[in-house]
Amino acid sequence: MSQHIVFSFDQDLQSVQAKVMRIGSLAETALNDAVLSLETRDVKLAERVRTRDTLIDNLTEDIKVSCAKLLALRAPTAVDLRVVLSVMTIGGNLERIGDYAKNIAKRASVISENPPVSVVHPLRTITDFVVHMISDSLDSYIQRSQSIAESVLIRDQRVDEMYTALFRNMLIEMQEKQHEMTVGMHLQFIAKNIERAGDQATNIAEQTIYLATGMKPNDDRPKRDMTSYETLRA
């Protein structure tokens, strides 16, 4: 797309998109570090994750103000309007990922006060998978790539499968080792937070498709999160 006749309009749009990329980088790091603090029982790292969430929140607010200004002063249309709308939504998605990371970090601090358990390792697999999805969703946005965005959407099913498997394992573990119930419950919520971060990555990918094509993707992807139906077998 060529430049606007009014050059400062281009600068405003670029500036607000650069802020989204900055939040994206912070959110990815936060999720990764939160799970790392859990694995390494690093309370200081968990504390840093919680503190840095303020930076994500402030940047998100900053994006909202910039978008309000763009809407009021530039009255964007067509692809420019879609940029502003998608930036506002993606800012919200990334802020949520930051919140999940912060919540994981809080629980990591509690877990570190309890004896180690074996289930932490499988969380690394799902975390790496989700962080990669977030990274790819942001790449798809900046490259306006429908194909990368669609690859992120497809991967959400795998996250659901991984989460369902974790959920089952934790149920069984907790049934057998009731003294690990406290840690098990926190790990359950942590796994859910990671799975939800994956959902936010798919939302970002959907926004990219809207930005690139002007159309929302069909919401008929199969869902593989079966935890709502899980029960403990006697």
Partner: protein
Amino acid sequence: MYDLPHARSDVINSDCKISARNVQLYYGDNHAIKDVTANIADKTVTAFIGPSGCGKSTFLRCINRMNDTIDNARMEGTILLDGEDIYDSKVDPVQLRARVGMVFQKPNPFPKSIYDNVAYGPKIHGMVRNRSELDELVERALRRGAIWDELKDRLDEPGTGLSGGQQQRLCIARAIATEPEVLLMDEPCSALDPIATAQIEELIDELRQNYSVVIVTHSMQQAARVSQKTAFFHLGNLVEYADTGQIFTNPQDPRTESYITGRIG
């Protein structure tokens, strides 16, 4: 750029008021309108947008044969109003213009009283039998023009003494007075302040209940606010014609996108 496809001009609407087919217009050697085909719906506001010289006003003027008054203008193709060819030799252009009213960029009231400005058209078209019928018609037109309350006690004052916004609403009332079916507006707000513009836009929305309104505007936001259909013209071509929401959020033609987003096309 020139080999890009032209608009899908068959915007589906069962209530079609005006149907233009393969319209070409030449000013001497200048080919100003190039094979434009479009249906314009009844009880709908249709906006024509595009850069200066793109042919939007020229096409508007084809709809009530205003181009007939230009010596070197020559039109080809057909324009049907309710299925009747308006360029048929049996059609009287003066009668046609009573059915297809027009409002211009600059308010142009006659140098007569407010009352006479509105009464002139109905009188020459023999629409009334006596003074009381004329009074009723003038009041109805001024009410539809959303200016009756402001002017009802000043009907004998000259129309030229009103403010710009009032003059334009008086001109709209004058156009409505002959009970037209179509109202053509050529940049009706470009000489008005934002308040008068808002009043005219509100009026256009009300007029839509009874008329087919076609508006040429340079204001993108005005087109987005007042119209349900938008047609984008460029270099004499009808490039894209679709629902206004579609044109302003997801235009299909790159030329439309470049124009409405303020890029160098």
